[in-house]
Amino acid sequence: MSTGNIEEAPRSAATSSGGDLVVTGVSKRYGGVPALSDVSLTITPGTVHALVGENGAGKSTLGKIISGVISPDEGTMTLGGEHLSFKSPREALAHGIVTIAQELAIVPGLSVAENVYLGVEASTVGFVRRRESRRRFRELAKTVGFELSPDRRAGSLSIADQQKVEIMRALSRNTSIVVMDEPTAALSGNETAALHKIIRSLARDGKSVVLISHFLSEVLALADVITTLRDGHLIRTVDAKDANEESLIEGMLGRSLLTAFPEKATPDEERAIVLEVEHLKAPGVNDCSFVLHESEILGIAGLVGAGRSELARAIFRDSKVSGGTVRLKGTELAGHSPSRSIRRGLVFIPESRKEMGLLVGRSVKENISLSRLDLVSRFGWIAGIRERRKVTELMNAVTVKAASIRTPVSMLSGGNQQKLMFARSVMCSPSVLIADEPTRGVDVGSKRAIYDILTEMAASGMGVVVISSDLEEVLGLAHRVLVMRHGRIITELSGERMNEQAVLAAAFTESSSEGTDS
């Protein structure tokens, strides 16, 4: 399946609008933070074009731009010479570009065939011609080689089969380009193999596949062309036969140091253990054990979906723990509610502050004092002055900038919102803080302030766990790093061995089929 076989594929002429998809100088910013800077590439029909890179390197952003989910701030796209500017995925669809996202878009209550032909049903004056649909479905199924009953309820299918439904839907719409974002992340070994076959057959039929994947072995096995992204920049585009895992990882590495980190206090091995996790099992967490000392910052690295947040929530007793123990300062955390964990001295800052952290419409004051209203109240009656004083003090401590303590949180910048989460945590005076993605969507200045807060908290004797997709951040802050994959802690790195190369190697190298046993 070299790039030159478009002409041999008879379907392609009829189905695709044909020609190369040329992306030129595309940039995208989110709230001032560049996600993609000046990226240009060409996607040729009949090839599998893989996009690889760390978390946040911009691969998904690029995929979304190609499929019209988001529009770029700068740059142009052309398909076979025709200028493209999509305002919605629907417009991209009209040009034969289809996305198969991680979150599947099927209607669970409809049958397989109905899902495949959703919106383009064969019909006579509004009545769906079921027999005709089924016939068309069988034909399509035969050409792609799927065995799916057209009459099954789509909701009752496995994830892999639901993905097949999406792929069939894509193929039934004269598609020329299929964008797949982490298609095998949720699949078992067999299903992955089946999907790989499909991807290859798509390319053989003259369609292009844009494959976004974390699994380097998968990428190397499937792709014809591999583009490496780092920090939103295109590092290089190479032929797959000229690449190997080492060269790809090497391409993802070597980020420029954008932010300085506060100096690390020397970790002291003699310090008391504040948190002890033993054989913890929970949804997405498989037999995890580690300890955390006083004044220590422990980093948890891993790819998105590796089970880092799940581990945090299991420790925080926010998910159903099926086995193992969590001891906080020697006493077992047996409760089943976050409120009890907080009272015992364990605080958790969740990854998405808007959905899981803040009452967006309420004031800064109410948001900060929420966890420890008991400190500023007597017999349930809130002492207004005491609350205002306490909140002001905390806001100064973590440098939250707000017009007033009564300003609604929705008016604050992302950085200030995140600092506010820290103010709330500081008010709880915990012995352990778990911060999940503490600087996501935060500007550079606030990042530094948050690093300082984390370091100060640790210096005051707290044990701090930092979960982050930003590798530089984990390495810059943490005394020790745990790397997770498929719900397990794969390796622990400290001292000399704690470097980007080692973390990426541990996080990336296993094949995608490993997920079956977990």
Binding site: P338, S341, E355, M356, S371, N396, A397, S404, E456, S460
Partner: protein
Amino acid sequence: MNVQVETPEALDVDSEGGFRSGVIRLLGSWRLAGIAIPFLILFIVLSVWSGPFLSTTNLINILDQQCAFLAIAAAGTLVLVAGGLDLSVGAIYGLTAVVSGELAEHHSPFIAIGVALLVGLGVGLVNGMIVAFLKINPLIATLAMSFVIGGVALRVSNNNLIVLSQNSGFYKFANVQLWSIPSAVWIVLVFVVILALLLARTTFGRYVIASGGNAEAARLAGVRVNQIRIITYALSGLAAGLGGVIDTSRLLSAQATGGGPTLTFTVLAGIVVGGTSIAGGEGSVPRTTIGVLFIALIGNGFNLLNINTLYQQIVLGLILLAAVSIDVWARKRRR
């Protein structure tokens, strides 16, 4: 814990913010004005147009009639703010009315009042637990419960109208005059003030607001969301019980179908007209009180001005639509 970080830029807490935040700050009082100004206008218009309106008798009469509505709406505000909905208040009102009526015939008024209130509280508690633990949509859960409760109420009263004699001590509960205002009004006033303070000034109130505003965030911040919600339903049941007892004592008669959907939806209308968001997370008991009285004034005005009552319904519906539209608009502005 002492976190000191670079650039400890002095934070002037009470300084004026930018224009937008100033606007947002006004929103709270703006919502209050949104119901208070129409209320005052209506009040003045009625005073001018209709002579009997401004008489003390008429005004006290309105308050007396609205007692049950005011109590139930105050508690209903808490339910709504916590992210719930209680459609069973009409049924609970009917049940507690007949329970207190039956008991008052043969027992001491204390037993009649006490048992009826406990029944209201108990049913509310069940409502809350169904919603919290079975995770059933509150609309469906309390609707289903209202049928169950309504059936029980019919069973208790054998579908009869219960009529009481004026001599009983039970009559005094709602009808003792203090400064020529009946005790029913005083009782409800105290109840409403307590709920208003509970929502606005206590930790419980904060938890109610947090539970309705963002349940997930509240839970992760250590708020026991389920517990808070159950308490709001229990309070709602208690309020419906109080309303049932007061009206039975006031009117000396009780009927299982006395409250029903009409009461439920009038109360809900009052809460929403008062500017409490049906989406939860914000609301105020004083505004609800004005909302309920606003609707009562419309009814009273239409009667005094001899306008066909069917227009009253149309007007009420339009006002409700306007209130909800304003809420939606205000929420969008905040994004």
